[in-house]
Amino acid sequence: MRDEETGSYWQQVTGAAISGPLKGAQLSLVSQDELSFALWKKEQPNGTVLAPLPRYAAKYEKSTWESEVAKLPTVIHATKGSLSDRETVIGVVNGEMAQAYPLSKLTPQSPVLLDMVGGKPIMVVLGPDAKSVRVFSRLIGNQTLEFFGHDAPWTLLDSGANSWGFDGCAVSGDRKGQCLTRIDYLKDYWFDWQHYHPHSGIFHH
């Protein structure tokens, strides 16, 4: 990316300026969500959506874009790890530690992955739409909670029988009203994630 004001060049995936007057500067990552439109609309009924540009709308990606891109060769290849280049992973970073969670490990029957990244207890959760993913810290106060989930209907429970919503807030039980901290992640292809995080682990359970 290039900024108009100084002509500096910025790396899209890291937000770092790599050339020009602002070389070395770093953009701050804004907390964001990647989720299905239906789920977002349910959570944010008063939200706004970026409108299509009529001039280009016919050229927008088709709904099948992901399966088509999955067939394309990659420019570079992952140098290690047992995942294929185009395996989609949920990438989480904590300080120097990085971990990749293959998206294929999240299923409606097994929608919760529990793990530790750099000493931080986290969980990766597949939402009720079987498409959206969120990552939360399992530390609340100074207690680490253990979670498990199942489907039909989608339910997220902790070992204290509290029921949690996909927004990370408890809807019933003693902890009703308490909310878990959201953790940012990058949904990426393994070859790219491994390129920027050469020491990343892969979640295996």
Binding site: M1, R2, G7, Y9, Q12, I18, S19, G20, L27, V30, S31, Q32, D33, E34, L35, S36, F37, A38, W40, K41, E43, Q44, P45, N46, G47, T48, V49, L50, A51, P52, L53, Y56, K59, Y60, E61, K62, S63, W65, V75, I76, D129, K131, S132
Partner: protein
Amino acid sequence: MKFCSTLLARRHLIILLTDHRPRSLGVQSFPMTGSFAFTKRRANKAVPALVLLFVSLGLLCFAAYPIYVIRPFREQTSTALESALWVLQHNKPLVLIAASVIAAIAILLWRRAGWIAKIFLIPATGITVLAAVSVWINPYEKMFHPVGEPKYLSANLAQIDAADMVIAVTEGGESRAYPIREMGYHHIVNDRLHGLPIVVTY
């Protein structure tokens, strides 16, 4: 790049040859035969003109270097990328100065140029103009159509499929969704959410 580096090497060779050629002492010192005078006129300034042609090709290589390095679907090493971006940020003044010098020399040579020299000077000028114009155009930026001034639809009016993925940002209670099928085309949108200036990229 192999062509360009061979080209630059050849230019050096020609300059060496030119420097070592014995100078002519003027038409009066030599017996004037018709064929000799014809040869001299035809070949007048041919070598400098050829040199200028190679210089103009070298300039075009310099101007085209970033386009070569930053081609899509190709890995860039960090050193190549750094130099390509440096060229991209300094090419306008450097290329314009070089092009002006080449054009001035071409004009000076033209008056005394034989037709062989003119055959070299015409493309030399054309290539120089091409190089000078090319620094104002980045074909890769032309390929992309970023969202200029973003417009919005309310959640219940937006025509997005239920299963389409969106990038959602919430700031100060305001939430905005950027559909990935749209962002995958535009790649970048400069926006403001609840006063916070953000850039959304995909």
